[in-house]
Subunit: 204 residues, 2 copies
């Protein structure tokens, strides 16, 4: 099994390999990969060794082969149907974001509890009533729910996601969620990111 | 020195202490704190011991004292002036977000390169031309630049931030940045969060 910290770095390697390939370069040395990602060269070699990939001394790693292999390990060989729950400022920005679709994460439905927003259509995606989450999610085989609802509503929405048998949540609400058995959870904590900066700013 | 992983967990403890205090509870045991945050109880005790805080057996930790201490350690005893660079979908959602101001991160200016957006005013915050970043940032003593510009523009904007002597960046663009010397960097990687989910979904 690959450690979670290595998995998180794979996304970074994937982005850098994309940039290198776009620049027309076929191989890359671990030193250069380290400089581009900010990860130390020994860690780069250790991470890539998990996948049986060994840079050839003096030549480096073959970029397009490694990129394909990392995409496969991250499960990016196919698309994932996503639903955005909460069509406020953040939910709408996420829906308009073409970068998700390019990575294979296709938003197929949006949900809200506000009657003014239900029956909207944004970027070709219909906004449904949250009460219909279970039916619509089963019909469209939604695998990832992106939560962009206010903090106080988040836990109740997470339980509705589990009830609808959606297996994964990406939560933007600033509250710790208890997602329920069998539901994978990733949390984006904007305030936490800023607090990690304020911690270091006041030490300067 | 406190390890970065502990610092990242402090934000989570802070949010949970806020919820506990709002519920009228004065003390909390490490077991309960573990259940609310999803962090194992031994790690909770180890983290809080860094700050000299030891739960009293049978009583637990005093919530409001710890909350104050963590706010102090994270540098939250004062406000931080922030600037959002890039007033597209995400930049506007971030500007409308009241949660930042509540945590002490006050957006004092926004910047863009699009002539149609310069001289806008959103939520009382003026949108300036990116060419004026250095003058305006010095005048308003901006300490954190939040980058919401497209990937191809991000590195050049990061260099303008260093030139304007803004000491910290929170980057949303999906490219690894090489900020100048002396600039603190935190990266939000939305695609990376989704890839961490797809990695685990395809293993189910
Ligand atoms: N706006 C940002 O930039 C930003 C950044 C980071 C985190 N967040 C977090 O993301 C969440 C959304 O923020 P926002 O600024 O878009 O808020 P918002 O108030 O603009 O939008 C929230 C939306 O959720 C809907 N909603 C409320 N309860 C619901 C329920 N039970 N089921 C379905 N929909 C429901 C509302 O009708 C509204 O449309 C918040 O938790 C916020 O803390 C926002
Ligand atoms: N929208 C989202 O939900 C979302 C989520 C995660 C990450 N991102 C990332 O955040 C960034 C912004 O996304 P978006 O959807 O808001 O894009 P957008 O195209 O709607 O907005 C980008 C804005 O940046 C401005 N800009 C371009 N070059 C600039 C420069 N040199 N200086 C100042 N301003 C400049 C543009 O004029 C535009 O207003 C992108 O890098 C995107 O990949 C977006």
């Amino acid at each position: 099994r690959i450690p979670v910290s290595t998995v998180n770095r794979l996304s970074l390697y994937l982005r850098v390999f994309g940039q290198i390939e776009a620049g027309g370069q076929a191989t890359v040395a671990s030193r250069e990969l380290a400089a581009l990602t900010g990860i130390n060269p020994a860690q780069v070699r250790k991470d890539l060794a998990y996948f049986g990939q060994f840079g050839r001394r003096g030549v480096g790693y073959a970029v397009s082969g490694l990129k394909r292999e990392i995409r496969c390990i991250l499960g990016l060989e196919r698309d994932y149907a996503c639903a955005i729950i909460g069509m406020g400022h953040l939910g709408q920005a996420l829906l308009m974001y073409k970068g998700l679709r390019d990575q294979g994460f296709k938003v197929v439905a949006a949900f809200d509890s506000d009657p003014d927003k239900i029956h909207w259509e944004l970027e070709g995606v219909p906004v449904y009533d949250i009460a219909e989450l279970k039916t619509v999610a089963r019909e469209l085989n939604v695998e990832i729910a992106i939560l962009a609802v206010p903090g106080p509503a988040a836990q109740e929405v997470a339980e509705a996601v589990a009830e609808a048998r959606i297996p994964a949540i990406l939560n933007f609400a600033p509250v710790p969620l208890r997602p329920g058995p069998g539901v994978l959870l990733r949390q984006v904590d904007l305030a936490g990111e800023l607090e990690a900066l304020s911690y270091r700013l006041q030490k300067l």
